[in-house]
Every structure is written in structure tokens, then in C-alpha cells.
């Protein structure tokens, strides 16, 4: 690899066209709802309407004409009625227990969608209701608990001149991909009539395979999952598509024809996973010069009714909970509580946005109490290269927290002209953050992801299960392979992830695809070069490729994740190298508040992030800009109103995401301090942009108006309440 480092990069770092871009701007791209199959019918889900209790009966109205309908309930499940995830607690179809509203009970299919809707109305579930647990702050059932400790907390607190406490709350957030969840299931797969095939919108084709294996008690070769063009995910299509695919496949197997299930927006909002609400209490020991002597954090997340991915969300939340700050003694305790609400799950940032919101609002509180400038306070505590994190990880690679702070301050001054005289209250807020790339702790070792390349007469084809969901995965991986092979970008072909053709590259989550899968592909490419022998040009490559293919028939090289030697992690003590690499970031937000309506608007925003290397600068900027605005939405508007355990504002009229008129001018600067184990130095970029905006905005609101909000979203009602 050292040879690669020394030459000028020709594809990496360049703004090549997206592999699938032309299809997207011409309308040719085929999303799941654009696909048709012969004899295809439509499926729908019968859901519970109480938050907790027992199902007494599920009845179909005898006066209704049920001809042409396919009905599926738990008795039709050939395998295990369990959604394969971390623990086995969530059924595909409820049997007799109800743990939350919108829980699937039965499935219907019909060739006519209008009839299908009428059929849904003709099903009646009767219940024996039980009192639900709806408030996670007072809930008592713990789904998952963990604690991280380093140093002597009591001694650290004793060293402090002041102990400063604060409690912070964040609410649900909906991923709000513009394409709702959807699947088409076909009976049969890979030549086996008893198999099942699922096409659809998803982030993790092999998660779906694992779920179908268990649901149908089928071996892997009888299951085929194909990701179609996916209209956004943001974590929301990490685990839930397994449920949609399972349901569609159950219907398709019973009906014997393809079944399309597309969620309407309302259904997608009330039934699918959201960001975990949080309550986080900070207790910080601070010396009079602002130095932190101890950090004690207690966090609670609302898991909803089932475990889903909550243990790993909690883990990422806890590991990032100190923010990018050093302290000799730290204790972080976290719990995920069970409530009778729809399960929460993966959402960009995966717990880190919640815990770093608390950290950064608390840093401003410390600054205020100690009478120190907030920026200066941060400077005195930021991680430096060689420092140790809460899990005992020594930060050997370059820590660029200071650098992104300096660059953000400079950029913010230059990029945004301060608005002229305004009757509004104006202020600026800061937030700093870090974000680990890849699975936490030993996660990557357990995943053992595989990816590779297939030699073609005129190039190579990527064999990778990582999904393109808008972030540019396919383009970026093609660039890494082209650069590794020293071939033009156009020589690298890509295909839709189809489990009949591509290996399991692990889920497309956790800011892991570029750094982890990119490295595997880089290694596979290096091995292919050895097979081919030296070539001088693209034409020369083609000659050698043709000759090798003639000799061998096919040339496929699949490589597997290898843990860099220096990474060590202990799952028992929760100590060690939590992540191979961290991105470092700084946000600055300008906010104006209308003194009459108390409406807060973000008018200008700056985000500077060290991502190691931007494989494609334009795509990386797109990730940062999009993640930033999603964070601004969470900070200011996005409010999931729950009543009796179900979302009340389940439409886009009342669940507000930022429009062009709400979006501030966003200035982005990418810092590149290469990570030695990442492809061409790259770390992750997908999640970190959403870690900072909420705190930057809340801190700006304080600067503008004196209102200290300890909770988001910062709605006019909330600001008015604080300002009195």
C-alpha cells in the first residue's frame, strides 16, 4: 500500500459522476413501487390498536365478501415467529400478547387495492386491556444496562472547585426517508420453488436474509434478497425492512403469486422505528480554571416495546457521552427502558447525537457558571493526540479537535455575513463532537464482512453487499477500486446488491462502509493486481484480463475484514479501543428569535469535520450538509407527539421537517488527516454531521435570548415557557 500513498491519486478525491446518477435525473431509476411482476397482488397489515393487553379474538366480518383475499396470521408461519435481531423477543405477527400499538397481527392480500382497504376495515380484534407503561422516565423494566468507568470518580470530584449538574432531554425523531418502506415478495428463489425472494427498499440485504431463514426455516440458498433503488434510509431501513419482507413473503408463499407491500406515509410514521428519546444527567467536577476533573453521566433511553438494536444504540451513546473531552475520572451509566410504544431503533448517529447534545449544552452551562468563555472552556478540555477516552482507548492517531475548532471559527466569519440590524434576538452557538467509525468494540470482528471484485474483459465488477441509499456508496467504492487498480473510474462496474450474487459485506450502517468495506475492496484489488501481473495502461489491463479469463474461466477475488493489529477490545470490562478511528467536528450556528412569536430560526451554519480523506469531496459535502439539516430539524421542529403509545401527528402536515425556507446557509469544510488503516486515509462521514447541530442551536438560543433550554425541539412554546 505504501506505493499507493506516494503517487498522485487519479480517481480518489475527484468529482466523478455518481454511478446511478443519470438514472435518477431521468426518472429511469426503479424504486420498489415502480416495479411490477406478472400476477402481482397487494398486501397490507392488520395492526393492534391498544398499547398493552391480551388478544381475545381476531375476527373477520362474516358479512364481508372475502373472495379473492389471502389471509395470513401467526399460524401460517412455518419457522420461528421471531424477528431475528439481538435478542429473540419480537414476533412477526402477534399471537396473544400486545406490547404496543401498531403491532402486526395479521396480513391481507388482494389484487385490488380498494378492496384490500375495505378488507382491513372488516377485521375486528378484541382485547383484554392492561395498563400500559408509556413514560420511559418512570418506567421500571430495563431492557439493557451498561456502565463504563475509568479512574477514581470520588477523587476526581474531590479535586473540583465546583460540581455542576444538568439534565437534558431529547424526543423521538423520525428518519423520514421520502420513499416509504416497501417490498415485493415472490414465491420461490434460486430455482427452489419452496424458497422466497424479496425485492425492496433496505439498507441491509443480509439482515433480511437472516430474518427470512428463521421465519421460514429455510437454508440460505433458498432465499434471495435484492435491494432496489432506495429512497433514503438514515437508519430507518436498517432493521424494519426485515419485518416488511417477512410479511410480504408470508403472503406470497400462501397466495402463490408475487405480493407488493408499500407502506403509506401514515403507516410508516406510526409503525416503524424512530430515534430513541433520551434523558441524560451530567455531573461535572470543574476546577476554577475550567479543567474537568470528573464526569459522571447517567442516561436513560426509551427502547419501546422490544429490544431491536437498543443495546448497541446505548453502547454508542455511552461511549460518546463525554463529548470530545478529557478527564481523569469518568463514570457513564446507561439504561434502555421498556415502554409499550413502537420499538425505537437505528437512526443516523445511533445514540451519539443524544449523548453529545447533553454534553455540549452542559459545556455551555459550565462555561457560564465558571465565567469562562465557552470556546476557551472547550479549548482547555479538548482531547489531544495521546489522550485516553472513557473506555481507556489511547488516541494514537492524530486528534484534530483543536484544528476543526480553529477552522470553524475562521470559516464562520468568512462564509456568513452577519445579518444587518434586526428586531429579532440574534446569537451564535457552538458544539463540538467526535464520532467513531464502524461497529463498536468487537463488532467488526464478529461481522467478518466480505467483499470483492470479479474480473471482466474490460474492467472489474464490484461484488459487495453494501447498499446505495443516496449517500454515494456505490460511487465511492468504485473510486476506491479504480484507484487501487490504477484504472479509470469507468472500468469499474457495479450491480444492485443481490444476495444470489454478492457476499455479505455487513450492514450499511455505522459510518462503516467506506472505512471497513473500502479497505476490504482495496485489499481484494491488490490481490487481483498480483494475479494479473503488471500492466502499463487500461488497454494493457484489458489484454491481460482477457488472457487470464481465457485461462481460468472466471476470476473472482473475495476478501474478508481483518482487524488492524493494534485494536484491542474487552467486551466484559467495556474497556479498550471502542472504534478504529474517530471523526472530529465543530459546528457553529447563528440563530434569530422573533421576540413576539418566540420562533427560533437558524440563519447560518458552519460545519467543519475531519473525515480522514474525502474519497469524493462532493458526496462527502452532501453527507455533511444533509446530516446537518436533519440535525437542525431535530433541534427546532421535529416533534413526535405520542398519545396512548401511538404517534398523533403522523403526516407531513404536522410532523415538520425543514424545507428550503427553513434551511440556513450551510458552510462546510472538510479536514483531511488521514487514518492509516482507512482506504487512502478515509474514516467515516455518514453519521457525525448530526451529532452537533442540536446543541449548537440550543446554545445559540441561550446566547440570543438568555433562554436556557434543556430539551429539544426548541419550539416557540418551549422558548416562551423558559423566557416567561
Amino acid at each position: 500500500m505504501s506505493k499507493v500513498k506516494n503517487r498522485r491519486l487519479k480517481v480518489v478525491g475527484k468529482r466523478v459522476p455518481r454511478t446511478e446518477g443519470a438514472d435518477k435525473v431521468t426518472g429511469r431509476a426503479r424504486y420498489i413501487d415502480d416495479m411490477q411482476f406478472d400476477h402481482m397482488i397487494y398486501g397490507a397489515t392488520v395492526r393492534t390498536t391498544i398499547p398493552r393487553g391480551r388478544i381475545v379474538s381476531v375476527e373477520r366480518d362474516t358479512a364481508f365478501d372475502w373472495s379473492g383475499f389471502t389471509w395470513v396470521d401467526h399460524r401460517d408461519i412455518p419457522g420461528k415467529n421471531i424477528v431475528a435481531m439481538i435478542v429473540e423477543d419480537q414476533p412477526f405477527l402477534a399471537v396473544d400478547r400486545v406490547e404496543h400499538q401498531t403491532e402486526p397481527v395479521a396480513l391481507l392480500a388482494h389484487a385490488d387495492r380498494a378492496r384490500l382497504a375495505e378488507g382491513l376495515k372488516a377485521v375486528r380484534i378484541t382485547y383484554q386491556e392492561e395498563p400500559p407503561v408509556l413514560d420511559f422516565e418512570t418506567a421500571t423494566e430495563v431492557l439493557k444496562e451498561l456502565s463504563i468507568a475509568r479512574g477514581d470518580l470520588a477523587a476526581g470530584l474531590a479535586l473540583a472547585d465546583k460540581i455542576i449538574e444538568g439534565t437534558y432531554r431529547t424526543g423521538h425523531q423520525e428518519q423520514l426517508y421520502i420513499e416509504t418502506n416497501g417490498m415485493i415478495a415472490l414465491p420461490g428463489a434460486n430455482g427452489f420453488p419452496e424458497g422466497v425472494t424479496a425485492y425492496g427498499s433496505m439498507q441491509c440485504p443480509y439482515y433480511v436474509v437472516k430474518a427470512l431463514e428463521k421465519l421460514f426455516r429455510l437454508d440460505r440458498e433458498r432465499i434471495r434478497v435484492v435491494q432496489t433503488t432506495t429512497g433514503g434510509g438514515f437508519g430507518g431501513k436498517e432493521e424494519y425492512p426485515s419485518i416488511v419482507a417477512g410479511h410480504a413473503c408470508l403472503l406470497a408463499r400462501k397466495a402463490g403469486v408475487p405480493v407488493k407491500m408499500i407502506y403509506e406515509r401514515h403507516e410508516d410514521l406510526i409503525a416503524t422505528t424512530k430515534r430513541h428519546p433520551s434523558i441524560i444527567t451530567w455531573r461535572a467536577g470543574v476546577k476554577s480554571d475550567g479543567t474537568l476533573t470528573a464526569i459522571d453521566i447517567d442516561m436513560r433511553l426509551d427502547g419501546g416495546a422490544y429490544m431491536t438494536l437498543s443495546p448497541v444504540v446505548l453502547s454508542r451513546a455511552a461511549i460518546h457521552a463525554t463529548g470530545p473531552y478529557r478527564t481523569p475520572s469518568v463514570r457513564i451509566r446507561g439504561r434502555v427502558m421498556k415502554t409499550n410504544t413502537p420499538p425505537n431503533g437505528a437512526f443516523r448517529g445511533f445514540g451519539a447525537p443524544q449523548s453529545q447534545f447533553a454534553a455540549e449544552v452542559h459545556m455551555d452551562r459550565i462555561a457560564e457558571v465558571m465565567g469562562i468563555d465557552p470556546i476557551e472552556l472547550r479549548r482547555r478540555n479538548l482531547f489531544q493526540t495521546g489522550d485516553t477516552t472513557a473506555t481507556g482507548q489511547v488516541l494514537h492517531d492524530r486528534v484534530s479537535a483543536d484544528e476543526v475548532l480553529d477552522k470553524a471559527l475562521a470559516k464562520h466569519r468568512v462564509a456568513h455575513r452577519r445579518s444587518k440590524k434586526t428586531k429579532k434576538l440574534a446569537g451564535t452557538g457552538i458544539a463540538m463532537f467526535f464520532h467513531g467509525s464502524g461497529f463498536t468494540g468487537g463488532g467488526e470482528v464478529r461481522l467478518a464482512s466480505r467483499a470483492g471484485v470479479e474480473l471482466l474483459p474490460d474492467g472489474v465488477r464490484l461484488l459487495v453487499g453494501s447498499t446505495e441509499i443516496g449517500q454515494g456508496t456505490r460511487t465511492m467504492l468504485a473510486q476506491i477500486v479504480a484507484e487501487s487498480l490504477e484504472l479509470p473510474y469507468a472500468f469499474v462496474k457495479t450491480i444492485d446488491p443481490d444476495t444470489a450474487q454478492v457476499p455479505d459485506s455487513g450492514p450499511t450502517v455505522a459510518s462503516r462502509t467506506c472505512m471497513i468495506v473500502g479497505t476490504i475492496l482495496q485489499r481484494a484489488s491488490a490481490k487481483l493486481r498480483i494475479e494479473l501481473g503488471p500492466y502499463k495502461s487500461g488497454d494493457d489491463f484489458k489484454k491481460r484480463a482477457k488472457a487470464l479469463l481465457k485461462k481460468r474461466g472466471t476470476v473472482v477475488i473475495i476478501d474478508q475484514y481483518e482487524k488492524p493489529g493494534e485494536i484491542e477490545w474487552n467486551d466484559e470490562t467495556y474497556q479498550g479501543d471502542a472504534y478504529g478511528a474517530y471523526a472530529w467536528g465543530c459546528n457553529l450556528a447563528d440563530v434569530e428569535i422573533d421576540p413576539l412569536t418566540y420562533e427560533a430560526r437558524c440563519t447560518a451554519f458552519t460545519s467543519v469535520i475531519d473525515i480522514g480523506r474525502a474519497i469524493h469531496p462532493l458526496l462527502a459535502e452532501g453527507q455533511i450538509e444533509g446530516g446537518t439539516l436533519q440535525g437542525i430539524g431535530w433541534a427546532l421542529f421535529e416533534d413526535v407527539v405520542m398519545k396512548n403509545g401511538v404517534m398523533q401527528n403522523a403526516n407531513l402536515t404536522n410532523y415538520i421537517i425543514p424545507t428550503t425556507l427553513d434551511a440556513p446557509h450551510i458552510a462546510v469544510e472538510i479536514v483531511e488527516n488521514p487514518y492509516p488503516n482507512g482506504p487512502f486515509g478515509a474514516k467515516g462521514v455518514g453519521e457525525c454531521p448530526i451529532d452537533g447541530p442540536a446543541a449548537a442551536i440550543v446554545n445559540a438560543i441561550r446566547d440570543a435570548s438568555g433562554a436556557r433550554l434543556d430539551a429539544i425541539p426548541a419550539t416557540p412554546e418551549r422558548i416562551m415557557k423558559v423566557l416567561g
Binding site: 455518481r18 435525473v25 426518472g27 415502480d34 433514503g232 443516496g470 449517500q471 454515494g472 452532501g622 402536515t653
Partner: protein, 145 residues
């Protein structure tokens, strides 16, 4: 009913109340027009009817009778809109791409050489969750500015 879509005349028989969105997608197989919410909030289904940007999920097909409809599939026929498609591609204005057809159609209804503020107002009915809108402004300015 007679509809002219992307310059081509079609005679279709559909229930008059059928959503124009469904008529385009199902009867004419023009699946480039997307459904995001079905209630006129997200703008993914935007098409031009006689030059005006509308949410096709809110338009009964009968209302479009005799009009000229432009969808994403027709953009390539016009050099100005071809330029817009190219700019969306080059500027990374299309990430997941599901809002892109509607976004581009709304951009087609903008005044010539739009200012940033005109772009923001003109695209306010089109939600995008991927881009933060920055690259979309870049693309529209590049193509139409």
C-alpha cells in the same frame, strides 16, 4: 379522456376521480413521478400542467383533460431542461433521488435566471431529506442562473 404528456397525445379510460399520479404511473407507465406522502405535502409527485407546478397526487385526472403535462421523462426533450438534469447530476443534487423528479419539475416553473430567494420560495413545496438543499441550489443556479 385525452391527455398530452411530454408532447405525446394519449387517450385513456380511467375513473375521472383517479389521481393524476396513478394515471401517469399505472396507465401510462411513467413511473418517474413519485409518491412520497399522498397528501400534497412533500412534492415528490410534482409535474407541470400547462407550465404550472402541481402535486399530481391532489389532481383528479379529469381536471388534467386537454392540458399539456410535463413529467421527468419529458425533460430531455428540451435543451434547457436537459441542462437542468445535467446540473443535478454534476452538482450531486440527487442523492437518494426520490425527490429529484419533483424537485426538477418545480425548478422548471421558476422564473428565468432565478435569484437564490426565488429558488428557495419556488422549491419550498419539495421536501428533500438527503441534501440539506445546498447542492440543489447549486444545480438550479448552474442550469438556469
Amino acid at each position: 379522456m385525452k391527455l398530452t404528456v411530454n408532447g405525446q397525445a394519449h387517450a385513456i379510460s380511467a375513473a375521472p376521480g383517479k389521481r393524476l399520479l396513478d394515471t401517469l404511473r399505472e396507465d401510462l407507465k411513467l413511473t418517474g413521478t413519485k409518491e412520497g406522502c399522498g397528501e400534497g405535502e412533500c412534492g415528490a409527485c410534482t409535474v407541470l400542467i400547462d407550465g404550472e407546478a402541481v402535486n399530481s397526487c391532489l389532481v383528479p385526472t379529469c381536471q388534467a383533460e386537454g392540458t399539456k403535462i410535463l413529467t421527468v421523462e419529458g425533460l430531455a426533450q428540451n435543451p434547457r431542461w436537459r441542462k437542468l438534469q445535467k446540473a443535478f447530476l454534476e452538482c450531486n443534487a440527487a442523492q437518494c433521488g426520490i425527490c429529484t423528479p419533483g424537485m426538477m419539475l418545480s425548478a422548471c416553473a421558476l422564473p428565468p435566471q432565478p435569484t437564490l430567494q426565488q429558488i428557495r420560495v419556488g422549491l419550498a413545496g419539495n421536501l428533500c431529506r438527503c441534501t440539506g438543499y445546498v447542492k440543489i441550489y447549486d444545480a438550479v443556479k448552474k442550469a438556469l442562473g
